[in-house]
Symmetry: C2
Subunit: 239 residues, 2 copies
């Protein structure tokens, strides 16, 4: 892991960009005592520099967590294959035309998840070897990647998932194998994501401790207090 830039932000948080082989990432920390770690991923491969993710990451870092985000293959600025570009073009066209989009989502979100999870695990290895990062480890954000990670990665102790993104059928099946404490965040009137599918997924998770939070405001309208609720959830399980 090589740090490529570093800046101290006005909330006292240290923001460091890193590369780990081909993986570009960002680490937000504050203080020097070993901190629990939160892996933060945006649904469907939005870039790690996206402002809402950065705001959440900085808030958690200012409250005693180490927070890391990466751009997984095909996400953020990472190069995309011609097939991926074609899938995304097909998706935009189908959405504009009001046509069904599930099969297009399956064809490109499934492979994104398959490629992202090993890179998140490699990143986790590297992060836990840094001074000042102590674990335990939580995960926040992209549901499909989080389900797979929670199933294959025993170091993930608790997870907050955002329901607003396509979850491939494979991960909907795997949901029953997830047993860690979960906080599942749903936008009740998310225009692009069927509510019943999200409720079915919440029902499917195998976790004995799982909590659903649903709010109004459309896909991007999650109220800010949910950031604080998420940190209290992690506080119960990581601290």
């Amino acid at each position: 892991m090589r740090f490529t830039s570093e800046q101290r932000l006005d909330d006292g948080v240290l923001e460091r960009a890193f590369t780990l082989g081909e993986i570009p990432g960002t680490l937000w920390t504050s203080g020097s005592a070993p901190a629990p770690l939160i892996l933060m991923a945006h649904n469907n491969g939005l870039p790690r520099g996206e402002s809402r993710l950065v705001a959440r990451a900085r808030h958690a870092a200012a409250h005693g967590y180490a927070v890391a985000a990466i751009d997984a293959p095909g996400c953020g600025d990472r190069p995309r294959s011609a097939a991926e570009e074609q899938d995304r073009a097909d998706l935009r066209r189908a959405m504009r035309a009001g046509e069904p989009v599930d099969e297009i989502f399956e064809s490109f979100i499934g492979p994104l998840v398959d490629k992202a999870v090993p890179e998140w695990r490699t990143t986790l290895d590297a992060l836990l070897s840094l001074p000042g990062i102590g674990g335990p480890v939580g995960y926040s954000g992209w549901t499909a990647v989080g389900i797979r990670l929670a199933v294959v990665e025993p170091r993930i102790a608790a997870a907050g998932f955002f329901a607003g993104g396509y979850v491939p059928r494979a991960q909907r099946e795997e949901a029953r194998q997830v047993t860690i404490p979960l906080l599942f965040l749903l936008q009740w009137d998310d225009e692009g994501n069927p509510r019943q599918r999200a409720l079915d997924l919440f029902d499917a998770f195998g976790s004995k401790e799982k909590t659903l939070h649903a709010n109004m405001g459309g896909h991007t309208g999650t109220p800010w207090f949910e950031v604080e609720d998420g940190e209290r959830f992690f506080g119960r399980h990581l601290k």
Copy 2:
């Protein structure tokens, strides 16, 4: 309003029993500065002295709220009519036999709500005239009574409802007229209360700001952290 007993509890909370005409109630307070008020009612008329309600009331009082509970007509130790006793006996028999219970619930919960709401308003008048109680006013607990109160009583500024109780058809209709901020608490696998009916009710509320929290653990298994979440909700709207 006449205080009939008073004791200082080990958490520093002052617990006072009162009567207001025929209405028996309890008031929990701490400190002397004017505090926002929470009216706390148990679903379906459980007594105000029930241990889970008392624990919630004391916690909120210790954190700066004045909290009041009453036994409304037919609730707690208040006398019941022969018809009410018959309805409750019918309900127990139907439940044991696995027969439908909606119509029995309608026949006795509906009138309980009709009689409870005016007494809560009378109590609210008296409470707000006391020194040390400043408003604004929140409501917590029994959904059916809370819906009617939120519709007819403009002094209720925010409400937390517990989904685990029968809501008469009249209040399910009135839900659309509720516009105050809401926190709706659902036990996902509540054996006696159909989940879909609770989700439909959440959907029906007219409030622009409404949040659903769902947890595992059956009807009485609400995790304690929801008490703290509820107080943060009131903190956003009453403080």
